[in-house]
Symmetry: C2
Subunit: 208 residues, 2 copies
């Protein structure tokens, strides 16, 4: 897998891989150094974004949500992150899209660069807060111990990386989003989530 320690899209996939105990080789691509726009990587993933998963036969899947769904289907005997019930699956995917479509793409590095780095914090915080306002209201209806009921799901694999980003943008998650904060705290106690944490990646920077 091609990953960057602080890429929240990579972090989602790392959580799923750890939850399913699927071993993989970690290839670091530095977003800060712009390595995602270099030829070697863009041949694998023309989106110039992380992550990308290269299978044993050389086929490549980009886009974290496509990878997450693929892992569910390709490893049916591994621990699941999608429930059986169609409506519960829909709620999981709704929560995933609320993060993976409505929040993260609007606050990612390439958009921040285009907006102008002087507006970086204000812009990122605005869109994360807009998305978390919606997500908190949604979770008030659907959450149990985790995002959708009491079973771990893809929504949880997306939530923790987004909360990690939210804190980097100075959002007071505990005060403003108590449900999100409660679930995030519970998730961060789970081994798979710890194993996937940015600080535990080989390309983590202590000083950053």
């Amino acid at each position: 897998m091609y990953s960057y320690w602080r890429s929240s899209c990579s972090y989602r996939v790392r959580i799923a891989l750890a939850h399913k105990s699927l071993a993989y080789t970690y290839h670091a691509v530095s977003l800060l150094a712009g390595e995602q726009t270099e030829d070697g990587y863009t041949e694998l993933n023309p989106s110039k974004l992380l992550p990308a998963l290269v299978l044993a036969d050389g086929t490549v899947i980009g886009q974290s949500t496509a990878i997450l769904e693929f892992l569910e289907e390709a490893y049916p005997d591994a621990p699941k992150l999608l429930p059986e019930d169609p409506l519960a699956r829909a709620y999981v995917r709704q929560a995933v899209a609320m993060i993976a479509a409505d929040i993260q793409p609007v606050q990612n590095l390439r958009v921040l660069k285009y907006v102008g780095m002087d507006r970086k914090i204000e812009w990122g915080a605005h869109w994360i807060a807009t998305g978390f306002d919606a997500l908190e209201a949604f979770l008030a209806k659907h959450a149990g111990n985790y995002c959708i009921g009491d079973e771990l799901s893809l929504a949880d694999a997306c939530l923790v990386p987004q909360v990690y980003n939210a804190r980097r943008f100075g959002i007071d998650v505990e005060t403003k989003y108590p449900i999100i904060a409660r679930i995030d705290a519970a998730l961060n106690e789970i081994e798979a989530f710890k194993a996937a944490h940015p600080d535990n990646m080989p390309d983590a920077q202590v000083s950053a």
Copy 2:
């Protein structure tokens, strides 16, 4: 279904519903008038975005990609928009996310308003072109008659509405993106795609 004629996320779902011959009641929500932020709608969908699908028992699903996956699973006897092969499904979902995460959310109305309407065309065209550059390269590897091989898929249901948006932002799709343009032209000949077109919606505005 709650929809707006020019909402590309609504348009995706309308295509899938038409392809599957699923009847539904059309509730118009005017994005231009800001009706998606009014209490009646936000109780259904806290994201304040379109579309939302309300099932016969009153349960609500927001987020177009969650609705599209739900329709696949809830109506297994209807014509499919996901192939059987896991890798082909992954490619379909990758193309979906390239549009539904990387392009549309960055160029939608609320982001344009926040950027400032004076930058509207430049901003929207930039992000659609960035996304289409990637998508054209991806389709060069995976397309047949349609986005992924020769079978209609969710990727096609997402492509046509995004090309519709691209033209509104002045992008010369035919010249710059020949594969996207070819597939879009073929898709627009199909009855389900015609039936879902913005101009054929009850809230379509002739003068807009």
